[in-house]
């Protein structure tokens, strides 16, 4: 993935393959992002605590920490494991076919880990990928940030910056060091 990203970005980004739970880049940043549900890759509380600690150490005094994660919907989490849902369909730029993305998922209520299996069908071929994402409920995510020493400045429910509410699709948090 890093190689592919590097080929696209060239020198516009410095790419590092590392452990987001423990890193020291020897510099500070005015903005630190964890976008696109990536925090869900941190499965254990200690993973999150260590990551947030590193973020805080790298955040400049006036720095902003922004993260986004979907707002878990219990109706989706309790779907049957054999329930196939189409999640996306778009033209394949390399063929005349559409890319059709379908998903099945299962949710472990003890670990709060959602296993999503995505099947990409392009014409007569397909490939699949599996994502194991930790689910963070709203108050839980707020508490993790609080106890890691962050103060939440804004919490939006969508990318158009509407306030977070029960029916929000996302949790988008802008935080600073407390």
């Amino acid at each position: 993935m890093i190689g592919v990203a590097r080929s696209r970005l060239g020198k516009s980004a410095e790419l590092r393959l590392a452990d987001m739970r423990r890193f020291d880049l020897c510099r500070e940043f005015r903005l630190v992002l964890i976008a696109f549900n990536s925090i869900g890759h941190l499965h254990k509380r200690s993973d999150v605590e260590n990551c947030f600690r590193c973020v805080k150490e790298h955040l400049a005094g006036d720095g902003l920490f922004v993260l986004s994660m979907f707002n878990p919907d219990l109706r989706l989490l309790t779907r049957r494991a054999d329930d196939v849902r189409e999640v996306s369909r778009y033209p394949d730029p390399e063929s005349e076919h559409d890319v059709i993305v379908t998903e099945t998922c299962s949710y472990d209520r003890a670990t709060q880990i959602l296993t999503s299996n995505w099947l990409y069908t392009i014409g007569g071929s397909n490939f699949d990928t599996q994502l194991l994402l930790r689910i963070f409920f709203p108050q839980e995510l707020d508490a993790l940030l609080h106890y890691a020493g962050f103060e939440i400045r804004h919490k939006f429910g969508s990318f158009d910056r509407t306030e977070f509410a029960a029916d929000s699709s996302h949790q988008i948090i802008l935080a600073t060091a407390a």
Partner: protein, 107 residues
Amino acid sequence: MQALRTIASSSHALRTMSRKGHNSNANALVASRAPLALGGPLSNEFYKRGLQYEAQHKHLTADVDFYRAVAREHGDRYWSSHAAPVESSRRSPATVMTLPDSISKSR
């Protein structure tokens, strides 16, 4: 759980990594204007044929636009997103980190 680390640096990184120690000399720091983005591991195939295509077809546009706006408002005028780098981003590259695939697969 293993934690691999492979690091690539740019000229920007070399400029900004001039201080000796992160914790011992914090006051001497000039904060990077470009953001640090932390991400998760994805398979090459998923990245190439999934996310990139979705980004190209605007499935992630709202997310990207939001992050770009936040970056601009916070003074990072040269930020580039992974989905659509802007030309001027070469002046101040973003730093992106990710967990290695091996960590995710070991779970």
